[in-house]
Symmetry: C2
Subunit: 252 residues, 2 copies
DNA sequence: AAAACTTATATGCAATAAGCATATATCTAG
DNA sequence: CTAGATATATGCTTATTGCATATAAGTTTT
């Protein structure tokens, strides 16, 4: 460990961070889930100015004694009622850990009219059954990026379109582009599935995220060859031939 | 644009950011270049505590009126004497724009003994001839990640090994892993080459970043088929057969 | 009970890509 | 002029992907 001299200790003791003007720092979390073949985000309604009554990403100021990861997990818990972030909290019998990853840090000086606020944005992938009852203050919205565009469109269940507070629609758009790209080299699609799933459900996750149709036979052969699928030996019955159920074989 | 009511304006006028304790925010830039088949980083020597006389990444506090991207570009200019970030400054006859991208935000509460400091880290890819004279205060160091490990090793030109200030070695390691991965889906290797280059030089860039040998014939066929190489019609003479010179065909 | 329908699973073939061995070309050095 | 160094080219094998076609296994309808 770095050894400190008396001179250095005196320097540290006299250091005054207030001598410099500092921006505020928040953590904002894009909570993504998948329902009925739609990518959705959990948003909360702002109760104070600015953007009073606008829907927004759950967020909060970073506390002085917590890491950024801890702040994001706290926001998930306090603002969205979601607990059990993978690799963060006490390892109990977690049914389905939440996937949480840093997205990007948004720091345009004018992004918040109150004061200078820098936002360290995260995204969380949450299996739909993990999300509890919605209410007046928080709800799930469907997301869509029109062909050839980059801006995301946000709809409620009655297909009414919304603008979000601050630059939260832009943050949301970055998150969607991120998971589209990441799906190409990291098996994050599994984070949106229940513990046991069918190949059709896995393909639906991929098609929903990528917003395009995939070839059924190629997809299943590729997935079966990947070694990531662990057969459970059980079947799920529907209208047609029963489908085999799999688990995601996580590498240790 | 979001229209503001009188009530909201009053709210904003009375807002006091100092009511909340705020961390300091810095921008730190990993400056990467490639010389003699080695990946190198430009570091500067700290002139004050803590970590006095330790080598460190160029960095600085984020000013209240600048964006994070502007802060990173300012750090490049003021601390490393590098100008001409792609897409940022006035478009003059830039010989070789510098590639600058946000890396990750490091926010462990104890990472700086002075006070709580959150670092928005960037990485810059700089063609070697762009880097001016080194001196007592800044120098280039060779980087290497041993097989099967994740921590980066930092050497000077006499193969002396160094530890860096703060968590800057960790930040450096994240940057190397980032460009290794990104090389797979974005042609960032070209950012480390001069305007005109040979296929051998391009392969050397890839091999140095990935820290492994690539098959010469497959590599060149793949690159020639990619459509990214624009033949200049000129040759570069060496000891053997003259090599054809290419330019990077940037998509508009 | 049988037929129709739905959905899942399996397989062969063609096209494309990647790895590798081998050959030829074109220069400079001796 | 030959040897050496380096670049460029090509054929073959293996792997992957897309697609068409076939078979399997249920549920629903008649």
């Amino acid at each position: 460990m770095h050894q400190r001299s008396h001179e250095e200790q005196r320097y540290l003791d006299s250091y005054n961070a207030s001598a410099f003007d500092r921006p505020s720092v928040t953590v904002d979390v894009v909570i993504l889930t998948l329902r009925d073949g739609h990518l959705e985000a959990l948003l909360i309604k702002r109760k104070e100015h600015p953007f009073l009554n606008y829907w927004s990403l759950p967020g909060g100021f970073v506390q002085m004694q917590e890491s950024l990861d801890e702040a994001a997990a706290r926001v998930l818990r306090q603002k969205a009622g979601l607990e059990g972030v993978a690799g963060m909290e006490r390892e109990g019998p977690l049914r389905h850990p939440i996937y949480l990853e840093q997205l990007y840090t948004f720091g345009h000086p004018e992004r918040d009219p109150r004061t200078r606020v820098i936002s360290v944005a995260y995204y969380a992938l949450v299996e739909a059954s993990h999300i509890r009852e919605m209410g007046e203050e928080k709800a799930l919205f469907r997301l869509r990026i029109p062909e050839g565009e980059s801006a995301v469109e946000i709809f409620d269940s009655k297909f009414k379109k919304y603008s979000l507070a601050f630059d939260h629609a832009e943050i949301l758009g970055v998150a969607i582009q991120r998971i589209r790209g990441k799906l190409g080299y990291t098996p994050i699609g599994f984070e949106l599935l229940p513990e046991r799933f069918t190949l059709r459900q896995l393909q639906t996750v991929h098609e929903t995220i990528l917003q395009k149709r995939l070839n059924k036979d190629s997809f299943r052969r590729k997935m079966l060859a990947s070694g990531m699928l662990e057969p459970t030996g059980e079947l799920e019955r529907g209208l047609g031939r029963p489908a085999e159920l799999y688990r995601f074989r996580r590498e240790l």
